[in-house]
Amino acid sequence: MKLNTLIASTALLFGLACSSAQAHHSAVQYDFSKQSAVTGVVKEFSAKNPHLLITLEVTNDKGPHLVQFEGHSLNNMYRDGYRKGMVNIGDKVTVNTAPLKSGVEGGYVVSVVTAKNEFFGMRSTSAQDAAKAQAAAEGKK
């Protein structure tokens, strides 16, 4: 049991150590026509430009593991309701993301529901709106 805990902790730390290497890239690898909500515990959070970075400890059928997300810039999030102190290490939050096209866990955060049930970010993206409109139109056929 202790060994398992040690392995899990080591994996988490390794994940965190590796996370910064993924920073600073554009959004081409995300599918903005889709939306995926992921809930987890905040292990790393940085609201900055050009992209917000957040690492969550997510528990699913793979067990507890770290998933890194990036998202809109601090400036965009600020305009959409984010204020300092809304997200803290240890908080349980839900991030609404455009998932990675590759299918790997992670995504581009477009909005966040905080531990206090506050919301910041965009309600949807233009690509999601277009996809919904298309789905609705196809449904009417």
């Binding site: 910064s20 920073a23 600073h24 890239h25 554009s26 959004a27 081409v28 690898q29 995300y30 599918d31 903005f32 026509s33 940085s46 900055k48 430009n49 050009p50 992209h51 810039s73 400036n75 965009n76 600020y78 305009r79 993206t125 233009s126 690509a127 277009a130």
Partner: protein, 250 residues
């Protein structure tokens, strides 16, 4: 009698002043000072493009296209971009949208300053004698811009650009860009609309001039936000120095 004469002179003087003021107002250029954000799509621009959707093709020459394709191949997997490395968009990308961020125009008779919020990118547009001699102009991603008024239209000519394959409207260092700005009424939200028409000429890259039109909408009492971007780069540099010195970060 003398009193009447004085009054007549005063009235005449006031009339002349009023006429001069009206004439001045009629010849003064419009004031574009303020914060502007993305406006309604310009006519002919088509529906707004969804993020990540492919761009319509440009009349790019094969040799130029080969360079742009090589650049795209280099960054495709990682998604690396100038903005991702805290580098400004450069012209004409800054004026065509600046990543969706607002811009601020500060206007005075001999100079217009444009601040794009993203990366705090800065352009100076000089008028008349404020212009630097051609040999004193420093080349860069936003080039050197000089302006003049044609009636109510601001015309900005940009040269001394750096070669850039890393943006939507890639170009060589010999590209020249002409922008024409004019106020274009009020939108359905009551905002003033500033229409910007861009024509880029670059025979080394394109078979014909490239055109683009963008509408900006004024933000009443708008403010730009600070855009700090390089903190992580600096933090990583400090960490490297601390590691090399064998000390903890202060």
């Amino acid at each position: 009698m003398k009193k009447m004469s004085v009054l007549k002179h005063l009235a005449l003087g006031a009339g002349l002043c009023l006429a001069a003021a009206i004439a001045s107002a009629a010849t003064s250029p419009p004031d574009f000072t303020g914060v502007w954000t993305n406006g309604p799509p310009a006519p002919g621009a088509g529906a707004p493009r969804a993020r990540g959707a492919p761009q319509p093709p440009l009349p790019m020459l094969p040799q130029a296209k080969a360079r742009v394709d090589a650049y795209q191949s280099l960054v495709a997997e990682s998604g690396a971009s100038p903005g991702g490395s805290c580098l400004g968009t450069g012209m004409p990308g800054s004026m065509t949208g600046s990543g969706g961020y607002p811009m601020e125009i500060i206007q005075r008779p001999d100079q217009i300053t444009i601040i794009y919020e993203a990366h705090g990118e800065l352009r100076h547009v000089y008028f008349g004698d404020r212009n630097a001699k051609q040999e004193d102009r420093v080349p860069g991603r936003d080039g050197y811009s000089s302006g003049h008024w044609e009636g109510d239209t601001l015309v900005v000519e940009t040269d001394n650009l750096a070669d850039q394959v890393d943006q939507r409207y890639a170009h060589s260092e010999n590209a020249t860009i002409v922008e024409r700005y004019h106020l274009n009424g009020i939108d359905d939200k009551g905002r003033r609309i500033l229409t910007a028409e861009m024509t880029m000429t670059d025979p080394a890259f394109y078979s014909e001039p490239v055109k683009f039109t963008k509408n900006w909408a004024q933000v009443p009492n708008g403010r730009l936000l600070p855009y700090e971007c390089a903190e992580e780069i600096w933090s990583e540099r400090l960490s490297e120095l601390a590691k090399k010195a064998g000390v903890k970060l202060p």
